[in-house]
Symmetry: C2
Subunit: 150 residues, 2 copies
DNA sequence: CAAATAAATGTAGCACGCTACGCATTGTAC
DNA sequence: GTACAATGCGTAGCGTGCTACATTTATTTG
């Protein structure tokens, strides 16, 4: 008998996305914008749009739009790269830096919430099974922004 | 140490969605359109737009747009309900019925693929842990189109 | 050095999610 | 029966994903 794992993944993704969306809305951010902010805060140098597109496997017009809205809301600013005048480096503004802390707190809260009531062994199993499922589907755990992965 | 379950869920969802999107594109359908087609094929009576919105937890304008495109492509047709002239019942056309079989084959293939190499016990654990995680995040396994759930 | 190629970004237009609003029909209350 | 609320659906407008095409700047190649 079949069990519809894919359906469960969809529902679980939907639930976590809803929670993140609601939490970030209070800071004037969307979930996608929040993920980019976290990336900006930990990237060694100010990245350009292309770095972000690669990290999250997004098309460059998508990133272009996201960054434009973040700039308009005062979370980031662009500075032209003097070495390569085609690209614009992205800098977190103070308002953005403040948000990142709260975003990461929210992420951590949801991490704990998802495996609430799991034993240590169950957590390890869950993680391992997820990684194997990802691998089966042709992915890798460090896809879609690989930063901060152990 | 924290393990970023949420990130894994995002990646796994992304991978499966990519695969479904590619497969359904060959039939001239998107993933969302495909899910609705499957629902139509198994719903006892021809549903109206509102039934679909409820089943998938989508807003009615979203459903409206999806159905409009399915109609334009000849997969479905609308018939006015004589009992309630506000609502329009949705009927699968032959072209739509043909697609459903192939869509469900694709889903089953991906179900098998995701747990490839899992023992029977591991499959049961994976399913159980997913259900508990969903429950922790305030969801239920039969959300987002509850049909065909055991 | 000039020309072709590659790279970074922007714009247009589409699908799919949302909220807010409007319109037509149905149901209810007086 | 008429007025008011509830229901079903449509449109408008936005954010986020995409592809395809254009533009500007770097790089490579002759």
């Amino acid at each position: 008998m079949n069990h519809y794992y894919g359906h469960r993944i969809r529902v679980l993704h939907w639930c976590t996305d809803q929670i993140m969306t609601d939490a970030l809305a209070q800071m004037g951010l969307t979930a996608s914008q929040g993920r980019i902010m976290g990336y900006l805060a930990h990237y060694p140098q100010p990245p350009c749009a292309r770095d972000i597109a690669e990290a999250f496997q997004l098309s460059h017009p998508t990133v272009s739009g996201l960054l434009g809205r973040l700039e308009k809301k005062g979370f980031i600013k662009f500075l032209c790269d003097e070495q390569d005048r085609r690209s614009r480096r992205i800098y977190l503004l103070p308002k953005g830096l403040e948000s990142v802390k709260r975003i990461e707190d929210t992420i951590m809260l949801n991490e704990q919430r998802m495996v609430q009531g799991f034993s240590g062994e169950e957590r390890e199993q869950f993680m391992a099974l997820l990684d194997r499922a990802i691998s089966n589907m042709g992915g890798s755990p460090c896809q879609l922004c690989s930063m901060k992965e152990d």
